[in-house]
């Protein structure tokens, strides 16, 4: 009888021990399976639970890094970056440090916070991580610099990228890539419109809008002149001149806006060319 009781007790004990042990080893297996099945929100919570329960700093840091992956997959780049900032960077192993820094830079880039991305890349460089020869970081650097309109630095990085990856680009195509996008001078567009209404719009490539601005300003200027000649001073000042002034300054501001839009288009086109080259020669993991 005693033997039987002992047998059952030992059995229960061993079962418990092995069950608990198995849980410790595979601490990430459940949230990882959730992540792989596409349930990113619940996976994020489970990673947070590991962070909450665990006493081991490496496990805690890994949990936060993996949690940021969930948010990245869920297109919540800002939250992902915020999560990465919670990592304890004073007690971190090298590989997690590199991954976390790269992920932070990537998430800020995806969140269109390009200044933060370049700050992060530069900080990684000062901490002896080679941001110029590492492929992932180099690609991120080129794309960020392009978005920040730092063409010369972007070009140096692009040459570096082409060299390190042994990409064959013929000189004509390379010239096209390294050429700065021809940008319109936004202030000039505004100022020439002050001298000659509509000219800023024409300079930005919008003939129709330029001509209509010219016609409207001209009509009200003429009305002001005619009113003064005939002695209608109040009408000349209030209805004529004030309306003319409205079209005049409004037209100049609009010319600046159009130039900005044009520049945005051209930058997007230029960046797309470089993005295409990177995608074609992509060896990023």
């Amino acid at each position: 009888m005693r033997l039987i009781v002992r047998f059952y007790l030992i059995w229960i004990f061993l079962c418990n021990v092995f069950f608990v042990k198995a849980q410790r080893i595979d601490v990430f297996s459940y949230p990882d399976s959730l992540f792989n099945s596409g349930n990113f929100k619940l996976a994020a919570v489970e990673y947070e639970r590991i962070y909450f329960i665990s006493d081991d700093i490496d496990t805690k840091n890994d949990a936060l890094l993996k949690k940021s992956f969930c948010y990245k997959q869920d297109n919540q780049y800002e939250v992902a970056a915020k999560t990465l900032k919670r990592i304890d960077f004073n007690n971190i192993n090298d590989s997690t440090y590199y991954k976390s820094c790269y992920e932070y830079a990537l998430n800020t880039f995806l969140n269109e916070d390009y200044k933060e991305t370049i700050l992060q890349l530069n900080e990684m460089h000062t901490k002896q991580i080679d941001t110029f020869n590492n492929n992932n970081l180099l690609v991120l650097r080129i794309l960020t610099l392009n978005e920040l309109r730092k063409w010369d630095e972007a070009n140096t990085s692009l040459i570096n990228y082409i060299k390190t990856n042994n990409i064959k680009v013929d000189s004509f195509a390379f010239k096209k890539l390294s050429k700065k996008p021809g940008l319109k001078n936004e202030k000039l567009a505004k100022n020439i419109s002050y001298f000659f209404p509509g000219s800023g719009q024409i300079y930005s490539g919008h003939w129709g809008r330029g001509l209509s601005s010219l016609i409207l300003s001209g009509a009200f200027a003429t009305y002001t002149y005619v009113s003064f000649i005939n002695g209608f001073y109040y009408a000349g000042v209030f209805s004529g001149f004030s309306t003319f002034r409205m079209f005049w300054t409004g037209g100049a501001n609009y010319a600046e806006y159009l130039a900005k839009q044009k520049n945005k288009d051209r930058i997007t086109k230029h960046n797309k060319k470089i993005k295409d080259l990177i995608y074609k020669t992509n060896t990023i993991q």
């Binding site: 009888m1 039987i4 009781v5 059952y8 229960i12 929100k41 619940l42 994020a44 919570v45 947070e48 639970r49 909450f52 329960i53 002695g231 209608f232 001073y233 109040y234 009408a235 209030f238 209805s239």
Partner: protein, 292 residues
Amino acid sequence: MTLKRLCVFCFLIVISYVLKSQTFVSNFHKDIGFTDYLIKNSLTDDALVFLKTMKEQNSITLSQNDTIHYYIANIYYKTGQFDSASYYYEKVSFNSAYSLKSSFFLGNSFLKMDSLSLAEKSLLKINTTDTLMNELLHFQLSGLALLQRNLTTYNTYSKNLTYKNYHLLNEEKILLDYSNKIKNLKKKSPFVAGTLSALIPGLGKVYAGKPRQGITSIIPVAILGLQTFEAYNKAGVKSARFIIFGSLFSVFYIGNIWGSVLSVNIVNQEINNEINRQILFNLDIPLQRIFR
């Protein structure tokens, strides 16, 4: 002998079930502890996802379900989503330990959604013998009466307020101030504003308490008036200039009078809204103080 063995076997089976259910209870407590941590660290989205997954588990008991509903409702209440909060507060069952808290917060959620009658219904359902809870209930009901601008009901409920309990003292006094304010509130008349604007354009808006708007609205009327006067003087009544500027002037002049009438109504509404906002804010503070 075999009977004994069978008994031992059955006993061990029963013991293992008891152990299993106990570990489940302790798991639930652990989960709630984790939820507390999430809420404390402002990870409310995570907390919501987690609580809703907990709810989907088949093995949870009724009281555990109530706890989950109360937690979800609290998160929604905290993040200002009062419609969802009221939905989950209503789901907390009557026997639950959270029932009383839920009823109070349910009432306040309805108040915040401006559903005064629903709030009254849910508050009147509360049945308590505790003195503090009773006073809190009367405090909430008197606040509700003020929101309804029903001063006689306010007086009946506020008779039960002691003005002694430190949990409620400050807010009870503030509520009393607001009841006096509502009593002495003088509404501005749209008719006076309209007449004043007819005499001098913009003066109605100054009367309504918006002097800047008054000054800016006189400018276009004056400019058009001057041009009409000029056209009348130099070109005569039948000239196109006079007809165009005259009709424009008339439109602006009448529009200004109409605008003044509207702005008095808007100002009255704004004053009412501000009082309501302050009352709602004051009704919320004791709830947070007592129940959190």
